[in-house]
């Protein structure tokens, strides 16, 4: 018997629930693994997939979304060793699972905390309810590889948004492994799309894309690039989340802001009976 040859893994993109290679055919090397180097077209395809998924995901009941996110946390927990093998500290994986569960719990509570009945001067019920913004482009923080990623994806999708994430260029393995977690957790294809590769290549396309409704610049460290992306995003009045400060504490309580920043308020006036 000859000695067994190891099967090496290629880390591919995650678009529309599938794992395609980059349309450009390019890849780059991280921790001696080949990782796809996403192109502008991959970003475009990811936006198309994310747009297609909005209707089903935003239309699902909040309870259902919560269950699916909880299921994702279960899967994440089950792959703990795999993340540790990639060099992610065990504490961080645990914190990421906890963070995911925490956000999952918010799915059916957000509308109650953030929406409400408004007193108005007239015979009307006046009710405000939060609605998802739509397709959100996210530049994930460079580090922490897993906790940072979870901390930007979960708050966006919990309310019914779909996301296109430009993963950390130096830590793409955790991102693709998280994609494998999501692919096996009942999350409909296209709700989360992950692009690995250079931020300078994908982020400008996403920022300028007319079919993207918001952009989260958390992971942009270059101030000039951040400004450029904001200018591009202004074209169709995207909601813009500014880059995180360099000393941001990812383990601390994130508060409601990451979720509420990606919501639109719908207010309904309903005549009261006499």
């Amino acid at each position: 018997m000859s000695e067994r040859v190891a099967v090496r893994k290629t880390y591919k993109l995650f678009i529309g629930g599938k794992f395609p290679r980059s349309e450009s055919g390019r890849s780059y090397l991280v921790q001696s693994s080949n990782v796809s180097l996403a192109s502008r077209k991959d970003a475009r395809d990811a936006v198309v997939a994310a747009r297609a998924a909005v209707k089903g995901w935003a239309g699902a009941t909040a309870y259902n979304r919560g269950q699916i996110l909880y299921r994702a946390a279960e899967m994440l927990e089950g792959r703990r060793e795999q993340f540790v093998a990639l060099g992610i500290p065990g504490d961080e994986v645990d914190a990421a699972v906890d963070r995911w569960v925490w956000y999952a719990g918010w799915a059916d509570k957000l509308a109650q905390v953030y929406g409400g009945a408004n007193p108005v001067a007239g015979p009307y019920f006046n009710i405000s309810a939060p609605e998802p913004t739509g397709v959100v482009a996210v530049v994930a923080p460079e580090r922490p590889a897993l906790l940072g990623l979870v901390s930007v994806i979960a708050p966006a999708i919990v309310s019914g948004n779909t996301v296109v994430v430009a993963a950390s260029p130096s830590e793409p393995l955790a991102a693709v492994t998280l994609a494998e977690v999501l692919a096996t957790s009942d999350l409909p294809g296209g709700v989360v799309n992950i692009l690995t590769g250079a931020i300078t290549e994908t982020a400008p396309t996403l920022a300028a894309h007319m079919d993207v409704n918001a952009i989260d610049l958390t992971g942009v460290t270059d101030a000039a690039l951040a400004t450029d992306l904001e200018v591009k995003a202004a074209e169709n009045l995207k909601r813009v989340l500014r880059p995180a400060p360099a000393d941001h504490d990812w383990t601390g309580d994130p508060g409601l802001a990451p979720m509420t920043a990606l919501l639109e308020t719908k207010t309904v006036w309903h005549p009261k009976g006499v």
Binding site: R44, V47, R51, T205, A208, H209, M210, D211, V212, K232, E235
Partner: protein, 319 residues
């Protein structure tokens, strides 16, 4: 691919006189190599068309679109809006060309004619008991005359598939001839409904039958059956028009319809046209796309090329 040689055959215009002659001719056409046709079509889909070539292809494709609405729910307002869009597909960009034609039901023709009057956009109307074609001949002809009288300058007729599949070629032939006569000066597009013809051999026979009977265009589908235009079927039809021109000197157009939704698809068809019949057919007079949602995708891709940023469906009309 196999070219049909007709030199040894009797004069083509005589074929319509008898059932036997038609049958002998149509069944004497060489069979289509199914695997070969599908492989050729798949191969032609792999070409990469970029930058300026893509921009030209997109503008050509826009000019070739037969902007279509064939719904029971069509209203005068809806078809007027569609006609306005045909004239100026992208209101934000005056350099965007108009489409080839608007295609509607006969009852909707007058409303479209009002909007298109004086423009270069053609007005096509389906007729002859579209989409099934299962009505008495007098009704089909009356349908055709009504559409022409209302202002249609192109008639999209359906062939009698029941008769064709039963082998009554003469009946199909005579119906096309009669419809051609009823259409007068209007261009006649003959819909083969290839999704119901079952084999490529039948598609080739139906193409020849339609051309022999005087059709100005052969069109794949009504868009009302599950299988609409496909690349291999269109390839077989393109070969038929090429061979027909060689045999008779008359050029016939081709119109794939139904299921072509993206710019990528449209460009694949254009590549196939160029490679199969050559640039003579790369013109809205000789090649059309029967489509509705295709136009918005073409406009989105066009906007990407002119502005550099990807556009979205929010910025184009829903129709």
């Amino acid at each position: 691919m196999t070219a049909t040689t007709t030199s040894a055959r009797s004069d083509l215009s005589e074929l319509g006189r008898s059932e036997t002659a038609l049958r002998t001719f149509l069944h004497g056409l060489p069979g289509v190599d199914q695997v070969g046709a599908e492989q050729r079509a798949a191969q032609l889909s792999t070409r990469s068309i970029k930058t300026t070539a893509k921009a030209q292809a997109i503008d050509l494709a826009i000019r070739m679109v037969d902007l279509t609405t064939l719904e029971g729910a069509d209203t005068p307002g809806k078809v007027r809006a569609l006609a306005a869009k045909a004239l100026r597909p992208d209101p934000a960009d005056p350099s965007c060309p108009h489409v080839g034609a608007v295609c509607v039901y006969p009852a909707m023709v007058p409303y479209v004619a009002e909007v298109l009057r004086g423009s270069a956009v053609h007005l096509a109307s389906v007729a002859t008991a579209f989409p099934s074609g299962q009505a008495p001949l007098e009704i089909k002809l009356a349908d055709t005359r009504a559409a022409v009288a209302a202002g249609a300058d192109e008639i999209d007729m359906v062939i009698n598939r029941g008769a064709f599949l039963a082998g009554r070629y003469k009946e199909v032939y005579d119906e096309i001839v009669a419809t051609k006569e009823a259409s007068g000066d209007a261009h006649l597009k003959v819909i083969l409904e290839t999704g119901e013809l079952a084999t490529y051999d039948n598609v080739r026979r139906a193409s020849w039958l339609a051309m022999l009977a005087g059709g100005d265009f052969i069109k794949t589908s009504t868009g009302k059956v599950p299988v609409a235009a496909t690349m291999p079927v269109t390839l077989v039809m393109l070969e038929a028009v090429r061979d027909f021109r060689e045999a008779t000197g008359r050029q016939v157009g081709v119109k794939p319809a139904g299921g072509i939704k993206t710019t990528k698809d449209a460009i694949k068809y254009l590549v196939m046209v160029n490679e199969t019949v050559g640039p003579d057919w790369l013109d809205p007079d000789w090649f059309r796309f029967g489509a509705s949602s295709l136009l918005n995708d073409l406009l989105m891709q066009r906007t990407k090329l002119t502005t550099g940023t990807y556009s979205g469906p929010d910025y184009f009309t829903l129709d």
